[in-house]
Structures are given as C-alpha cells and as structure tokens.
C-alpha cells in the first residue's frame, strides 16, 4: 500500500487533505512515520503545487470538521448500544477519527448481532380501538378522523370491487391493499399536499387521500384513453403529477434512491416540504434500499422512508428475508433516526408520520419508519397465498387485527360515526365504484399514436419509420389487431 501511495501525487495530496481533515496531522506529537513518509514524499514531488499542505488543509476544512462532530452528536438516539460504550474511564487514549473520537479498549468484544429485546412498537389504540391510557396524543379533529375512516372504507371497497372485476376478466391484473389500509391512509393524512410521494405499488390509499377519483383509478386499470399513463402500463401503476405522486413502476426499491434525489431538490429550493417513499419488507433486501438510506443520510435529504413490513414478499416470509430485528434497526447503521409503529393503528401511524415530517423538514434529514402490518390479500391476482401460509394466520390479521374496524371503534366511541353513516357511506361508494368501472370499461382505448410518443420528447426517425410501417401492416391485416384501439 505504501508503495502505491508514493506513486500517485494526486492521491497523496488528496489523502493528506483527508488526514488533515481527521485532525491527525494537527497533532504536534505526530510520531506516525507512516504519515510522515507520505507527507515528505508529497512535498518533495509536488512542492510547487501544495506549498503548505498541513496548514492550508487544516484551515480549509476546520469548519467541516466541526460540522461533522456536531452531526455525530445530534444523530445519537436512545442508545441501544449503550452497554457497549463502556463507562470505563480507561479511555485516556482515543483515536481521533472522522465522526468523532473512538475509545480504545484492551478487551476484545464483538458487537452482538441483536439486542436483548426487540425494538418496541409504538401504538395508541389497542386491538379494541381503545386509546391506551396516558398516551400523549395530539388532538385530531373530527373532520380528519372521519375522512380517514371514510377513505379506509373506500379503499377497502375499491379493492373488493376491482378484484372482482379482474376475476371476471374485465381488467388484466390487480393488487389489493387489504390489511394495510391504516398504513396507506393515515400516512397520507399526516402529509401536506406539497410533499412529494414516490410509491412502491401497494399505496393507492395515498393517492385516494390526495383526491384521485374512483374514475381515475378505474381509467388506469382499464388502460383507456383517459388513463394518464396512456394505457402503457399494467393496472395499479397509477401516477399523478398534479397530486405529487410519481408514477408507479414495477421494479422493487428503484424509487428509493430517486426519492433522495427529489428530496435533495426540495432541500436546495428550501421548500417547506419533504419526500415520502414507500417500500415493502422484501424490498429492503434490494441494493437500492441500502443505496438510498446511505445517500439520504450523507446528503441530509428531507425524505421519509416508510417500510410496510407486512410479513410476506409474495411467498417469502420475513424470516427468510432478513435476520435483523426487522427494518427499524437498520436505520442506526446508516445514521438515520428510525421508529417502529403499529401499522394497523391509524392513530399511531398518523402521529408518527406527522412527527417524522416535522423532523425531516426542520432538521433536514431522513427518517426511517417501519410499520408492522400484514398483507391480508394475495400478493396479486396472479397469486394464491393459501399455498404458502396458514389460513388461520390470514384470518387472525383479517379479523382480530383489522385496522379499519379498530379505527372505526375509536371514531364511534368519540361519537363521530354511527351505523347509519356507515351504511350510507358504503352504499354511496359502491354506486360510485360500479359507475366508474362501467364508464371506464366503455371509454375507448388510447389511439395508436400513443404507442410511439413519449419514448423521447420527440419521436426520432426510427420510430417515425416504424409507425409508418406498422400502419401499413395494420391496413393489410386489420384482423390481427384489436379493433378497440383507434388508429
């Protein structure tokens, strides 16, 4: 290694700046011949370029150094590794290293792979919808609570009816959010309209909360000419620029590093807004998840990562997905504050995301939220989950831990909701949904030109040529092509 260093002037220069940054060169008693040899080789080879590396580099980076130390302190959360940071005061000797001093110990200790206790789960409502005693809940208005409940019901009913439509062969595919209504709706309710959402694909409730109409959902699923995606993507790949909801793409976790870039843009524009991005438990195994968390921490980007830990990635159980204590524990390794919340407790999710948003924006930093929930439905309409998980497990989460029922009990207990309102809501939503599906089904498909547009801002010559050829082929063999796509 040492031989290598002397071979490159630039690298030596760079390293010296870094070393100065660490503060090592600053020590008068620097007895480290290793670094001295670097510094001498460098000054002999490039003295004209760097007249006084030690002093200039230190003064140049002194502010950055202070900043780093400060940041290290502020990211320290309630110490789960406290027992590891021994209270021994034998640490008269410490290594000055980027990020802060590192104590030396002479006893060899490996960091445990897990903590004695699992990270607790924040909740406010018990399974019966009773507010936990002494919980420090903010006031939530009747209006917001009722809207949250209504949207949860709407989402549930949309899932039921669209799922049926798929089963009848009217749409090609569908994915339900059953079991995760609270995570969807309550997180959306806690955000502002300016907050930018980069979804995975099981968060249509966020879009619903923001005002995407049932007609708009249906248009996308039917891929008709009113679909904003122009019939190009499978059902459930919604997107709405006006509602700040990036278009869904199927690949898992790709949206996460993008969310960091979007958040960096908000940060540079000094916007009073953050980015919120969603991921499932399976997605946390993707490289993009780790890339995103690390980037977000380093860039200090105002982004909230919401992981819906629903237990299953298609048929892969979380015990086959990771050996960590879920997702929340991963935050600390990246220098990100994290929290575990009961994803089936709408109040707790609401409160958590409100707080996360506040921190993300005011402190300009990322937050990781792990919502414990359950995918009550199959992964998609192409999946039969009874093949790989016990029916009673599904039943338990569907009934005993149902997030919609739990929230309803609380709203009813407050006197904000009644059986009459319930049946009126359900019959009205049902009518709207059937109407939306009927209209969407009858609306014509996007015209053929949409096959070629939007690949680039303008179609290049190869696409113009291919469109011309295709149209000629269609004229010769009209029977080969769907008749419902206008030419």
């Amino acid at each position: 290694m040492a031989i290598w260093f002397t071979r490159s002037r630039t690298i030596t220069y760079y390293l010296k700046r870094k070393m100065g940054f660490m503060g090592i060169l600053n020590q008068d008693s620097c007895s480290n011949s290793y670094f001295e040899s670097i510094s001498s080789s460098s000054s002999s080879s490039s003295s004209s370029r760097i007249p006084d590396v030690k002093n200039s580099s230190i003064s140049r980076y002194s502010s950055a150094f202070t900043f780093l130390v400060h940041r290290f302190k502020s990211t320290k959360t309630s110490g789960q590794l406290d027992q590891f940071y021994s209270s021994d005061d034998e640490n008269s000797q410490a290594l000055d290293f980027p990020g802060g001093k590192v104590a030396y110990i002479s006893e060899m200790r490996f960091i445990s792979e897990s903590n004695d206790k699992r990270i607790p789960c924040y909740r406010l409502l018990d399974d019966n919808g009773e507010l936990i005693e002494d919980s420090d809940i903010d006031q939530i208005s009747k209006e917001v609570a009722v809207k949250m409940y209504s949207e949860m019901v709407t989402l549930q009913m949309m899932d039921t009816i669209f799922y049926e439509a798929q089963r009848q062969g009217r749409i090609s595919f569908y994915v339900t959010s059953v079991g995760e209504e609270a995570t969807n709706i309550a997180s959306a309710a806690a955000l502002a309209a300016d907050d930018v959402v980069l979804p995975q694909y099981r968060e249509p409730g966020v879009l619903l909360w923001r005002g995407f109409t049932l007609e708009e959902f249906a248009n996308q699923c039917f891929g008709n000419k009113a679909d904003y995606g122009k019939g190009r993507q499978m059902p459930i790949h919604y997107g709405s620029k006006k509602l700040n909801y990036f278009t869904v793409s199927s690949p898992i976790a790709t949206q996460l590093p993008q969310a960091v870039g979007a958040a960096y843009s908000l940060k540079m524009d000094k916007k009073d807004a953050c980015v919120v991005t969603y991921i499932g438990d399976g997605g946390t195994s993707e490289g993009d998840f780790h890339a995103a968390l690390n980037f977000a921490a380093v860039m200090e980007a105002p982004v909230i990562f919401i992981c819906r830990n629903n237990g299953w990635a298609i048929s892969t159980h979380i015990t086959e997905q990771f050996r960590s204590d879920g997702i929340a524990v991963k935050g600390q390794a990246y220098g990100i504050q994290s929290i575990r919340v009961d994803g089936n407790d709408a109040l707790a999710v609401y409160r958590t995301i409100r707080a996360a948003r506040e921190i993300a924006i005011s402190e300009q930093r990322p937050i990781l939220v792990e919502a414990l929930t359950y995918r009550v439905g199959h992964h998609s309409t192409s999946d039969d989950s009874t093949k790989y998980r016990p029916a009673d497990e599904i039943e338990y989460w569907k009934m005993a831990r149902n997030p919609v029922n739990r929230f309803r009990k609380w709203v009813e207990r407050n006197g904000w909701w009644s059986e009459k309102e319930e049946s009126e809501l359900r019959s009205s939503i049902r009518k709207q949904l059937l109407q939306a599906i009927q209209v969407a089904e009858k609306t014509e498909k996007p015209a053929l030109g949409n096959l070629f547009s939007d690949v680039y801002d303008l179609p290049p010559s190869n696409l113009r040529e291919q469109e011309k050829q295709l149209r000629e082929t269609i004229n010769r063999h009209p029977q080969d092509y769907p008749s419902d796509v206008p030419m």
Partner: protein, 366 residues
C-alpha cells in the same frame, strides 16, 4: 482496495506511452458560420479533459438548477474533469457521493424529475453495471410510463470508456451496445475535445436522459482548438469527417483516430476512404451512413467493444436492409475480440490500424 484500483485509472490515463493521432478535420459543417468566426478569435488549444471541464463550467454557470456529482468529483475527479467546479459553484451543486453507482443514477433521476439538470459521473464505464436497472428500467421509461407527466430528461450520465493501454478487464470496457438496446435514452460518444464540449453541452440540455461515454485514452492525448464560448453540437447527426469514394468507414469515439490512420495509409495504396463519425449511437443517423454507402458501395465498421452483439452489427444490418443492391462487398467489421478485455494481450485484442487496413483492402478487392 477497490477504490485504489479505481483511482489507478488516473495513472493509466496520464502515463500512456503510445501516442495517438487525432482527427481535427471536424469543424465547418457543425458549427454555424458566425460561431466559426467567433471561434477564430477565442479558440484555445485544449485537451479533451479540459474541454469537458469547460462544458461543465458552462452548464453550471448557465443553469442555476444544474448539479454535478459522483464518486470523487468534488476534488476534481480521478481524471481531473471536474477540477475547479466545487470551488466555483459550491459543494451544494458539485459534490461527492457514496461509492454506489445505482445510488448515483437513482439520485440523478429523482433530481432530474424535479426539474433539475443532474450531471452524474460514473468513474469508469466498467462500473456502470450496478446502475443498469436504474438506467434501463427507470430513466429510459420515466417519461413513457407516466404518459409524459414526469420525465428525467435533465439527467446526463458521464462515464469514461475504452482502452488506455493497460487497463485490463475493469478499466477498459466499451459497454455502449448494452445501452443502444434501450429505447428512451440517448447514447453519445465524442471523438475530440471540440466535439466533446459541444456534444456534452447538448446532452446536458437535451430533454431526454443521455449516457455520455468519454474516450479516456484521449483525455490528455487529444489536443485541438476549442472555442471558448458556449456552443452545442446537434445530437443524432453523424458527420463525414473525411470524404472518399471507394469505401465508407463508420466509427465513434477514440477509434476514429485509428480509423483515420488506416484511411491515410489506404490512400497511399490508391484507395479513397470516406470516414464517418456517428457521434450519437441511439437514435442514430442512418441517413448519413446510407447516403455514403450508396456512393461508395462498401462499408466497414470498427469499434473496440467485442464484435458479437456490438453496435456494428446493428449498423451492418440496417445498411444491408437499405443498400443491398448497392453493396459490392460484404460489410466488414473490425472490432474487439469476443473475450473479456485483456491486460497483457491488449495489443492483440484491439482493432488496430493494420487490421482495419487489411479489411479495407479485402473489401475493396472483394
């Protein structure tokens, strides 16, 4: 160790012993008349690295919503292409990222989708593969899949590519063909400093995501007069850089200088070669190549990337489709071998001048 190896590239780039000649016969058609006049007054001799650096300065200067980032870009980059940018534009706009290519491109897509110009650097084209998914499934389809609600057209990914004399497997690759199979992105490769500056500025300002491969062999070796002012060269327009009547040669990037030497030698044997710089690989300028082949009746394509599945195959097929009856010989391809890029055997692997010259002769005498 990985980062050491990566940084090794810098040494590679500056310590090349074999000299390459460079085509400078490129002005004229592409730059408008009035610009040309201005250029006479304010052009300076620059190498390709400095030309890139100048383009980045101009990009950041002319658009306050533009950002430059990647591994080690802050101190100037391992090839020094980003020298002086942090000092001039601040560390909010020019910054290091963690060592993670998928993160860099993903971050760039998000930044671009918010209406910014995101200029991302991948330290070596050999390391672009972790970002392949972000480029292919995300950047390329961003506009299409959203029905033009969202786009990441402000994204430009710069990556040094190609042989440098002793870069071995992982500091030498030419991965352009992978990206030429992806509708929705553009792939651009410049051949000289002047071209690099004008094309890079076009890529940065183009409303589509672009992968811009820089011939790292030429970073220091290629020196030519580069206009100091802000200028852009059109994308998807090939350029005839040498006119001839017996055979058409098509190439891009660093390979053009080798091809030009072959043209010069062929001329001594009485063979008149027409040399075309494709510049933009997708969407590519088929018409210019077609016009030339209609005139010469022969075509040779040369690139450093392995011959099988290389972009030469696409050009060959397209031209055969269009000019079958005009062709007087099979289309020739002089390319890299179908092996991983070798270290000791690099001189054997490369599509050298004499390999090209032989192919020119056998095609003309077919």
């Amino acid at each position: 160790m990985a980062s050491c190896l990566r940084r090794y590239g810098r040494r590679l780039s500056v310590s090349i012993c074999e000299k390459r000649e460079l085509s400078t016969a490129c002005e004229g058609k592409v730059i408008q008349q009035q610009q040309q006049q201005q250029q006479q007054q304010t052009a300076k001799l620059l190498n390709l690295c400095s030309a890139i650096n100048q383009a980045l300065h101009l990009a950041l200067e002319t658009d306050p919503r533009s950002y430059v980032f990647g591994e080690d870009v802050s101190f100037g980059g391992v090839f020094r292409c980003t020298t002086g940018l942090t000092e001039r534009f601040g560390k909010n706009r020019v910054f290091n990222t963690p060592l993670c290519e998928q993160g860099i491109v993903g971050f760039g897509i998000g930044l671009a989708a918010m209406g910014n110009r995101a200029i991302a650097e991948i330290q070596f084209a050999d390391y672009i593969y972790p970002a392949f998914d972000q480029i292919v499934n995300e950047a390329a389809k961003f506009r299409y899949r959203s029905g033009n609600q969202y786009d990441c057209g402000g994204l430009t990914i710069r990556a040094p590519y190609g042989a440098v004399g002793h870069g071995g497997h992982y500091h030498s690759q030419s991965p352009e063909a992978f990206f030429c199979h992806v509708p929705g992105i553009k792939v651009v490769i410049p051949r000289s400093p002047q071209q690099a500056k004008g094309l890079l500025l076009s890529c940065i300002r183009d409303p589509n995501p672009v992968v811009f491969f820089e011939p790292k062999w030429l970073y220091r070796l290629a020196v030519e007069e580069v206009p100091e002012h802000d200028y852009m060269l059109p994308l998807s327009e090939a350029e005839v850089i040498r006119e001839g009547s017996d055979i058409t040669l098509v190439g891009w990037g660093a390979q053009l200088s080798i091809m030009e030497q072959a043209c010069t030698d062929a001329e001594k044997d009485g063979i008149s070669c027409e040399l075309i710089d494709l510049k933009t690989l997708i969407p590519w300028d088929k018409e210019t190549v077609e016009t030339s082949v209609r005139k010469t009746g022969r075509l040779l394509i040369s690139h450093e990337a392995p011959v099988t599945g290389g972009f030469g195959a696409e050009i060959s097929a397209s031209i055969v489709e269009r000019c079958f009856l005009r062709l007087e010989a099979p289309v020739a391809r002089v390319c890299g071998l179908d092996t991983p890029f070798p270290l000791v055997f690099e001189p054997f692997y490369m599509p050298t001048k004499n390999k090209i010259l032989d192919a020119i002769k056998s095609t003309v005498n077919y």
